[in-house]
């Protein structure tokens, strides 16, 4: 009896090592016949055939054998095929037909998820610290479920941004659009370590955070196209997306940081253990109001995590040409800092966990610099290659892409299969397509929304110029 079926490697190539590996798994006396894309074929040599063949289990009304349905395995004389998920039904029917014609029995076994490693430990890069005795852990564990969830979210983010790129080029999205692809690990990693009751505020490159903080892809895409189904009713656009405990989406660089400190003050004032994650970029790091905020946060020990997403370029200016000190994690001077590899989701998650503990323990603010990279230009009107080389972009894409890194980790530690990840990709693609369809067909907000919500209630004064069809009153 076989208690464990190993999932077959996906490659069609059979390296010598691979074959040997498979042979070890296939318990004798079964002999390995072939290692295929989705299944392994092995056979029992004739001399082991029993005198009496075991009865094939009666098929259920649909023609599936019980073993097939239950995913169990039965010893079968002549041929065993290990098959994957969806192909199971097809192959089992075909094989049964073949086998019965040849006078042999066939049993098909479903691959069970008990194959996968449920948890694994990974080594992440050590974070540089500033004014801290110890840094975040370098040995981190990730469960299979977590891994798949991170993968799904990051892939959703990536495809959403690429779809936005496409829609922008078709002029369905207008205005300004700042894309987040390349930086997915930052958003997903941060969200993994904070609670939904914590607060977050960022600058204009906000699509990723809107998603992680609870926005739907539909809502985000409809907001990009300016339709009434959008997350800000179509009035905010790319840069101004908001949802619960997510304060945007802010166009003016650096202006969101004092705001974040204010939110943190409210958290402390109300006596909750909530904190505020306050993000800004390497360009904004040179704004005066950031330093004003550092001072206030440190003085009043506010539970705020300042995060500088350093993607090396402030629009068109590289960090070396904009900053006297590119050690953004040290800029807080009296605030402890961490420099984190922002392309590795586990590193970001661990560092954020460390920072969150620091804040919740009442030790005051902490500053994190995430070293990351954006593949697109600053915005859709920036090709992104006039101030950096295509080779650089390619290099980062091939060596440090956050989704690829996670995928490699999951696969090499047998935490997921390529097919499974492909399935996720297909589902994500469909979700994005549906959302894009919605975003393109949803109607625009009605005209009376144009001057709605300027004031709290109906405006006490008529705001001139807000309604092109308003009749201006004459005094005479």
């Amino acid at each position: 009896m076989y208690s464990r079926w190993r999932y077959a490697p996906t490659s069609c190539l059979q390296s010598a090592n691979q074959r040997k590996e498979e042979e070890e798994v296939i318990h004798p006396p079964y002999q390995l016949v072939a290692v295929m894309h989705h299944f392994v074929v092995c056979q029992l040599p004739k001399k082991f055939h029993k005198e009496e063949e075991e009865e094939v289990e009666p098929a259920d009304p649909e023609g599936h054998s019980k073993a097939c349905v239950e995913g169990r395995v039965r010893v079968v004389p002549s041929c065993v095929v290990f098959v994957e998920g969806k192909m199971l039904t097809n192959i089992s029917n075909v094989l049964r037909a073949c086998a019965q014609r040849n006078g042999a029995a066939a049993v098909v076994s479903a691959r069970t998820y008990a194959d996968f490693t449920t948890e694994a430990t990974f080594e992440v890069k050590k974070c540089d610290t500033f004014k801290l005795d110890e840094g975040p852990a370098t040995q981190v564990t990730m469960t299979r479920d977590e891994g798949l969830q991170y993968y799904r979210t990051m892939q959703t983010m990536r495809r959403m941004e690429l779809k936005a790129d496409q829609l922008y080029k078709q002029k369905i999205i207008r205005g300004f659009c700042h894309l987040y692809d390349g930086q997915e690990a930052c958003a997903v990693g941060i969200e993994a370590s904070i609670k939904p009751t914590d607060h977050l505020i960022t600058a204009y490159r906000a699509h990723g955070y809107t998603l992680t903080r609870g926005g739907t892809v539909k809502g985000i895409m409809a907001e990009l196209t300016g339709r009434r189904g959008g997350i800000a009713k179509g009035k905010g656009g790319s840069m101004h997306m908001y949802c619960k405990n997510f304060y945007g989406g802010n166009g003016i660089v650096g202006a969101q940081v004092p705001l974040g400190a204010g939110v943190a003050l409210a958290c402390r004032y109300k006596g909750t253990d909530q904190l505020c994650v306050c993000l800004y970029g390497d360009g904004a790091a040179n704004q005066g109001q950031i330093f004003e905020t550092y001072n206030m946060a440190a003085l009043w020990k506010l539970p705020v995590i300042f995060i500088c997403e350093n993607n090396r370029y402030g629009m068109g200016t590289s960090v070396e040409r904009a900053a006297a000190s590119t050690d953004y994690f040290k800029r807080g001077e009296f605030i402890p800092g961490l420099r984190v590899d922002g392309m590795d989701i586990l590193c970001v998650r661990e560092a954020t966990r460390f920072a969150a503990e620091h804040c919740r323990a009442g030790k005051g603010p902490i500053l994190m610099e995430l070293q990351t990279y954006r593949y697109h230009g600053h915005s859709m009107s920036d090709p992104g290659v006039s101030y950096r080389t295509r080779e650089e972009i390619q290099e980062v894409r091939s060596k440090s892409d956050p989704i690829s890194l996670l995928k490699d980790r999951l696969l090499s530690n047998n935490m997921a299969s390529v097919e499974e990840l492909k399935e996720i990709d297909v589902e994500v693609r469909k979700e994005i397509e549906d959302a894009a369809q919605f975003a393109t067909t949803d109607p625009e907000p009605p005209l009376d929304e144009l001057c709605n919500h300027i004031f709290s209630n109906s405006p006490p004064v008529e705001v001139r110029g807000t309604n092109p069809w308003a009749k201006l009153k004459s005094v005479s």
Binding site: G175, G251, G283, A284, G288, A322, K473
Partner: protein
């Protein structure tokens, strides 16, 4: 005087207080149909913004040979002339080194060196403060704010520092060498933070000058006047005209006097005053009013918002009999 003359008809939808015009309702409906292309589009895609057609100035030979330039090229030309003639001139701002986001400073760094055309970090307050200091010390400082919407962190520096420097030092020091340039005005897709026209916020601050051109020919002359002027100047460039406005612009230096409004079209019934992009809308409005209503409109380009040409405006309004009312 200032209070009384505060209103200008800037929009085409304004009620024309025209004596004897009995067709006001039809006037309004006629004026509203400003975008002929609108009806052919899908309802969801209908743009509600008014269109305008840029109307170029006639070619002038009084300043020497001319070249076809659009607005950003005329700005580059003005800056080129300045850097060539004034060895103390420096240009700085965010991303100006590679040419700027609107290509107003293309080629200047290569031509004049990286110590004269350089990038600043992302800090508007710092840029203007730094500019004030450089101007006080004797350099001709031309600061660029990337979009007029971002000028607000620098509001304190402009209003409290730059505008009052001469006064508070008893004329011992001044930052007259400072000129601040910023792309200004709506562009159709700029939304909240790439479309603002903040001149009104500064218009009540004595000590600074605010200038807004309507096209490349005006822009070059007015910018060179601002740079030459001994007071700190804010020069707002209508961003929608950067590429759309093409005129024959003199290659050499020339100046257009500040605080002088220009009467573009004479009229006898009503005065229309505007600046920047709106001038082109109003020229069209004046034609429509003449054709459809028989109303003769006078169109005046204010050019300098502060200090504005009170004489011309009041004289014209008095002539026309237009009833001034506070806006």
């Amino acid at each position: 005087m200032a209070a009384a003359a505060r209103v200008f008809i800037r929009g085409a939808h304004a009620t024309l207080s025209v004596p004897g015009a009995g067709k006001q309702s039809s006037a309004r409906s006629a004026l509203l149909k400003l975008s002929p292309g609108c009806s052919s589009r899908l309802k969801t895609q209908q743009r509600h913004a008014a269109h305008f057609t840029f109307q170029p100035e006639p070619v002038t030979t009084q300043y020497g040979p001319t070249q076809k330039m659009n607005l950003f090229q005329s700005i580059t030309s003005a800056l080129d002339n300045t850097l060539a003639s004034d060895p103390t001139a420096v240009i700085f701002g965010e991303d100006v080194a590679f040419g700027g986001v609107f290509r107003c400073t293309v080629g200047l760094r290569d031509k004049y060196g990286k110590d004269r055309v350089f990038n600043t970090p992302l800090c508007e307050q710092g840029i203007v403060g730094f500019g004030i200091g450089a101007a006080v010390a004797g350099a001709t400082a031309i600061a660029e704010i990337q979009f007029a919407d971002y000028i607000f962190p620098a509001f304190d520096q402009i209003v409290n520092e730059a505008a009052k420097y001469r006064y508070r030092s008893g004329n011992l020091f001044d930052c007259g060498n400072l000129t601040i340039r910023a792309p200004w005005g709506c562009v159709g897709h700029g939304s909240l933070y790439h479309s603002q026209s903040p001149e009104a916020f500064f218009a009540h601050c004595p000590g600074i000058k605010i200038v807004i051109p309507r096209g490349p020919l005006e822009a070059k002359g007015l910018l060179l006047s601002c740079i030459a002027d001994n007071n700190p100047c804010l020069f707002f460039e209508p961003k929608i005209l950067y590429r759309a406005a093409v005129e024959q612009v003199p290659v050499d230096s020339y100046t257009i006097p500040l605080s002088q409004a220009e009467v573009l079209q004479e009229g006898s019934d009503v005065t229309l005053v505007a600046w920047g992009t709106q001038i082109h809308v109003l020229k069209e409005v004046a034609n429509m009013a003449q054709e459809k209503l028989g109303v003769s409109c006078e169109v005046i380009d204010l050019r300098t918002i502060l200090p504005w040409d009170t004489e011309t405006i009041c004289k014209m309004c008095r002539m026309v009999g237009y009833k001034l009312r506070p806006g």
